[in-house]
């Protein structure tokens, strides 16, 4: 494979370097450009702190999924099950909350005498459901050597189906309202919504883990050259198991945040979340071929659709245009990724 004798000196480095560096800068430029354009068009209706907080709250659930997806894609994997796991986790959490917060009679009258137990138990159950789904993905991929695409597609069906069986196919009602007032719609210090705080913490921890620890280093190494990682003594299977477990856990957390924001576990609102998360990650410069990616890129890649949607809504443009725009940006991002990869392979 690498036997090709190289005639070139180090002259190719410059071009490749520019090409590799172009992705993140270009994407960040697009985000800044969007903000500038919407500010010019909409003025302070768009450019004000409150609106930015709104955008961030709207983006928080997807951002949690995108963070987990970043790790997965850097290992050259994929997780199609994130949206379904989100739904399953929020249904499980909601049902545990409803069951433990009072008698059937009480909760139907919106009285939750034991919600002090019910809410934490529900949150724990939802997170556990997400973690177990992720572990299941990781187990099948590493032990049974099945392709991630197929395994997580299967998990998507199983998780979504289970959620619908549990909920009877409808949104879970009578969820304690405290989860919305105390978490979903609560502003800390008068300006920091709890969902944003949760997401911010996750992003910071994920950034540190990916770029500063051996966990992140192994994630890159596995995606870059899995044989080299194995020969270096990295336990590839165990690491991949952890990465898919992380993605599952963060999907569970996203399910809790979603439940807290809307006070109900909705079974039908997340059908496209997996593709949205993958798009965000890829737009952010993470390579589908593995070995390359950043958390900051995924944050930017999540905000581009969020800003577009927000700007279009303020302006009264049909939100469907946002989908068109995102599709175009995604294709551009993948194009850059492929150019970069083929530049590498010409070595």
């Amino acid at each position: 494979m690498s036997e090709t004798p190289s005639q070139e000196g180090n002259g190719g480095g410059g071009i490749r370097g520019v090409l590799t560096g172009l992705g993140p800068a270009l994407i960040f430029g697009i985000l800044v450009g969007l903000v500038v354009v919407f500010t010019i068009i909409n003025g302070t209706a768009f450019f004000n702190p409150e609106n930015f907080v709104n955008i961030t709250v709207d983006a928080s659930v997807l951002l949690l999924l995108a963070v987990g997806m970043t790790f997965v894609i850097i290992t050259a994997g994929i997780d199609l099950s994130v949206g379904a796991v989100l739904v399953l986790s929020s249904v499980v959490a909601a049902q545990v909350m409803v069951a433990l917060s009072g008698t059937e009679q009480q909760v139907q009258n919106y009285q939750f005498p034991t919600q002090g137990i019910g809410i934490p138990a529900g949150i724990a159950a939802g997170l556990l459901a997400g973690l177990l789904c992720g572990l299941g993905n990781g187990f099948l991929i590493t032990r049974l050597r099945m392709p991630p695409f197929i395994v997580t597609l299967g998990t998507l069906g199983i998780a979504l189906g289970t959620a619908q069986i549990l909920s009877g196919g409808t949104n879970v009602p009578y969820v304690p309202t405290a989860i919305q007032s105390q978490i979903g719609e609560r502003d800390l210090f008068g300006f920091l919504p709890v969902p944003v705080l949760i997401t911010l913490l996750v992003v910071i921890v994920a950034w540190l883990a990916l770029h500063r620890t051996s966990f992140g280093r192994y994630t890159f190494a596995i995606g870059s050259n899995v044989d080299a990682a194995r020969r270096a003594g990295i336990n590839v299977d165990r690491h991949l198991l952890k990465v898919y477990a992380l993605s599952g856990f963060l999907s569970g957390l996203a399910g809790i945040v979603d439940l807290a924001r809307f006070n109900t576990a909705s079974v039908s609102a997340h059908d496209a979340d997996n593709l949205a998360a993958i798009s965000a990650v890829v737009i952010g410069g993470t390579s589908l071929f593995g070995g390359i990616g950043t958390i900051v890129g995924s944050v930017v890649g999540t905000f581009i659709p969020a800003v577009l949607r927000n700007g279009f809504v303020i302006q009264g443009v049909q939100a469907f245009w946002q989908q068109v725009a995102i599709g175009a940006v995604l294709i551009l991002a993948v194009f850059i990724d492929q150019r970069r990869r083929s530049a590498e392979e010409r070595m």
Binding site: G12, S214, R217, F220, S224, A228, R231, A232, G233, M347
Partner: protein
């Protein structure tokens, strides 16, 4: 050179006996014996497909032999993974290099052996990048190896520069044996000299080197002993002081024996 060859060889550090290896119906190694003694450079030569890389893979735990025994420092070993061989001080530059192209030189050199920070951060897995970088620089200076950049992803370096990283990594960590599968294949003249010189200096510290190459001048320049593989069999052992390139080529191709079994 003479001096090295006259060293009291001692017991072989690494020895393979009666190695058989087939891929499906294809017999790639047939009762191969091979040994590496302290302080020697042993060249392993043979035509394309002779089984050189396969033998190396068997020796270093990448592949399991179908039968045969491997001894390390006189003790029977069965390396289940390449990592086990590395832990015993056997370092290998694989023909495919086994580097992570998206990582930089320091990350590749320390892959799987990262230094962590002191204290609680270290236990959380935080890396000590500064220390790894410093140690890499120090070691490379000691080894007189020049790498163009320690910080750029290897994919942005030339093929030869990447090979340099793989060679440096092996030499840095080896304490018992260094195995190099065509380490000079993509190198320019100056870099080849650097690697050959490095091989000699490693040998002079007492660590034996297994050197695989198709380039006969290089082989004769550094080897203390030459083992020849042909079609999976160890067919000759040559002394570079007395043998000629023609002898080596004849042994590799089988033309000397004239029995035409090369078909």
């Amino acid at each position: 050179m003479e001096k090295a060859r006259d060293l009291p060889g001692g017991e072989p550090v690494l020895r393979a006996r009666g190695i058989d290896k087939s891929f499906g119906a294809v017999r790639v190694l047939e009762s191969v014996d091979f040994e590496v003694r302290p302080g020697e450079v042993v060249a392993l030569i043979g035509d394309n497909g002779a089984g050189k890389s396969t033998l190396i893979n068997v020796l270093t735990g990448v592949l399991r032999p179908d039968s045969g025994e491997i001894f390390f420092e006189e003790k029977r070993v069965r390396f289940a993974t390449p990592h086990e061989a590395r832990e015993r001080g056997i370092e290998t530059v694989y023909q495919d290099l086994a580097v992570a192209p998206q990582l930089d030189a320091v990350s590749n050199i320390f892959l799987g052996r990262e230094h962590r920070r002191a204290g609680i951060l270290g236990r959380l897995g935080f890396l000590d990048g500064g220390r790894m970088r410093r140690e890499t620089e120090d070691q490379l200076t000691d080894l007189r190896v020049r790498l163009s950049s320690l910080e750029k992803p290897l994919s942005t370096l030339s093929g030869g520069q990447r090979q340099g990283v793989a060679v440096a990594r092996a030499v840095m960590w080896a304490s018992k044996v260094v195995i190099m599968d065509e380490p000079t294949a993509a190198l320019g003249v100056a870099q080849v000299e650097m690697v050959l010189d490095l091989i000699r200096r490693v040998r002079d510290t007492g660590i034996p080197v297994v050197f695989i190459s198709h380039n006969m001048p290089h082989v004769f320049e550094v080897a203390d002993r030459i083992s020849v593989l042909r079609l999976g069999e160890m067919v000759a052992e040559l002394d570079p002081a007395t043998a000629t390139t023609d002898d080596a080529v004849a042994a590799m191709t089988g033309s000397a024996s004239g029995n035409g079994e090369a078909a």
